[in-house]
Structure formats: structure tokens, C-alpha cells
């Protein structure tokens, strides 16, 4: 940790606060992912870690390397942009896969398809 010795106190406090906030959000998201009852509820939990969880850690890293290097270091923001664009795509694809699989088994809790195309017959094996 010797490279952090010349870091001013306010910057250290800011970095620590953003780090702890981001990691706590990621942890709470994982706890929710672990505890919630159905798949469609669990789908909401990881977005805690990917929205402000990632945002907090990325912000801490940006402040830290900017203060250490003495010049603006902003390449970490690419991780934030990348994650905030890709997570909705993966979650939407997973949700549609789950809907497809649940309908193929005639799960009564899942609403009928809103898509206009006819739903193919249920011939998939379970899990």
C-alpha cells in the first residue's frame, strides 16, 4: 500500500466511501438473488450490482488513479458504460428464454405470449 502514501486524506475518504458503497450494493444484490423466491423476482436483484454497485467501484478507481498519477485517468468509465449497456441485453434475453421454457411446460403463473406469432408446441424436456 506504499503507493497510496501521498494520497490526501479527503481523497482517501472519498475512495473508501465509494468502494464500500459499491461493494455493499453488489453484496445486497447477491443476497437478494440468493433469497428471492421466483426466477422473475431474482432477475431484479443483480441490477443493484450492475447499476450503482459498478458505478461506485469505478468512481473510486477513477478518483484514486487520478490523484496518484497527477493527471485525469478516466478509462475506468468504459467499464461502467459497457456494463450498463450489456446488462439489460443479457437480462432481457434470459427473461425471454425463461418465459419460453415456462410456457413450454404450461406454467399457470406465466401470462400468455403478447407476441403475434403462434407459440410452438411444448416438446422440450425439463431443465
Amino acid at each position: 500500500m506504499n503507493h497510496a502514501a501521498e494520497l490526501p486524506l479527503w481523497a482517501a475518504i472519498a475512495v473508501a466511501a465509494f468502494l464500500v458503497m459499491g461493494a455493499a450494493l453488489a453484496l445486497i444484490g447477491a443476497i437478494g438473488f440468493f433469497r428471492l423466491a421466483t426466477f422473475y423476482e431474482r432477475l431484479h436483484a443483480p441490477t443493484l450490482g450492475t447499476s450503482w454497485g459498478t458505478g461506485g467501484v469505478v468512481m473510486a478507481s477513477m478518483i484514486f488513479f487520478t490523484m496518484i498519477g497527477g493527471r485525469p485517468v478516466i478509462h475506468e468509465i468504459l467499464i461502467g458504460i459497457f456494463i450498463s449497456i450489456t446488462t439489460p441485453v443479457t437480462l432481457m434475453l434470459l427473461a425471454r428464454a425463461a418465459l419460453y421454457r415456462d410456457r413450454a411446460e404450461n406454467d399457470p403463473l406465466v401470462p400468455p405470449s403478447v407476441a403475434s406469432s403462434n407459440f410452438p408446441p411444448a416438446d422440450e424436456s425439463k431443465s
Binding site: 450494493l25 445486497i28 444484490g29 443476497i31 437478494g32 433469497r35 428471492l36 423466491a37 421466483t38 422473475y40 423476482e41 432477475l43 431484479h44 436483484a45 441490477t47 443493484l48 450492475t50 447499476s51 450503482w52 478516466i74 478509462h75 468509465i77 468504459l78 450498463s84 449497456i85 446488462t87 439489460p88 441485453v89 437480462l91 432481457m92 427473461a95 425471454r96 418465459l99 406465466v110 401470462p111 405470449s113 403478447v114 407476441a115 403475434s116
Partner: protein, 160 residues
């Protein structure tokens, strides 16, 4: 075909190249060449070209989305930590959308899914029906109002 078919894409690629490497003349030239070729490759795919009509409303949309994400982060954290399972009702919700522009619909889908507590599931482009899932569905009308008036109205103003 014009020399620079997608100016916004080329500019963001150049910016990404320079943030990854360094802000110098050499990387500016190299990044410009890469961005130029990438935009030509994109033009060869001939995707639907998005048209943004009102640029000045984009910062307002960004501000609303960031504020809503913070608010729903707090709401979902309190649901998970207090373990409310009896009163809470999470359910599917069907909304009729008037938005037709594909880019605007994609942005709406990303906004709804990135916000903890709501997820975009399915959309029918023929009659504009959207199926979404909400973690804490207290009031159907409140969520419909949020999607219709807070996001859809602004997106229609920007894109249509």
C-alpha cells in the same frame, strides 16, 4: 454513400480509443483511421439510421434516468434487507405503448431493465403491447403512468 456515414459512432469510437490509450496526436490519427473504417463497415450492414430530432432534451432524459435508478436502488435494497415477503406483490404488467421508433424502444427497454425493480420482458411490434415484470407492484396505474408519462412522452419528443 458519404465519407462519414455515422458521425456519432465514429466520434464515440475515437473517444474510446483515446481514453484506452492516451490523448496524443499519434493516437488521435490512429483512432480516426479505425473509427473511419468501422463506420464504413457499419454502413455496409445498412442498419436503420436513428434520427434524433431534439438534442437538447437528451441531458434531461439522462438526469431523470440517473435519479430514478438511485431511487429504485434504495427501494430494492430496503425490500431485500427487510425481507418483506407477505405484503409485497411482484407480478407481470401489460402496457400499451404508442412509441414506434425502434431506437427509442431500445432505449426504453434499456432504461426499464437497468432500473432495479422493473424488467422489460416481451414486446409485440404489431399492436404495441409490452409485457414487463415489476418487483414491488403496489399500484398498476402508478407504473403505467411512470412508463407512459415519464419516459415514453420524453422519448417521443426526442425521436418522433
Amino acid at each position: 454513400m458519404s465519407v462519414l456515414p455515422y458521425p456519432l459512432l465514429s466520434a464515440s469510437l475515437l473517444l474510446m480509443w483515446m481514453t484506452l490509450n492516451s490523448f496524443s496526436i499519434g493516437h488521435f490519427v490512429l483512432g480516426s483511421i479505425i473509427a473511419l473504417f468501422a463506420s464504413w463497415a457499419m454502413a455496409a450492414l445498412r442498419p436503420h439510421r436513428p434520427r434524433i430530432r431534439r438534442w437538447h432534451l437528451l441531458p434531461q432524459l439522462l438526469g431523470i434516468v440517473l435519479y430514478d435508478i438511485i431511487r429504485s436502488n434504495i427501494a430494492v435494497v430496503s425490500i431485500i434487507l427487510t425481507g418483506r415477503t407477505t405484503r409485497r406483490k411482484s407480478d407481470f404488467l401489460t402496457i400499451h405503448l404508442d412509441l414506434k421508433d425502434t431506437t427509442a424502444l431500445a432505449i426504453l427497454a434499456v432504461i426499464l431493465t437497468a432500473t432495479p425493480g422493473s424488467a422489460w420482458l416481451e414486446y409485440n411490434s404489431v399492436d404495441g403491447t409490452l409485457l414487463m415484470h415489476v418487483l414491488d407492484l403496489v399500484d398498476d396505474d402508478a407504473w403505467t403512468d411512470l412508463v407512459k408519462n415519464r419516459y415514453e412522452k420524453l422519448l417521443m419528443e426526442i425521436f418522433e
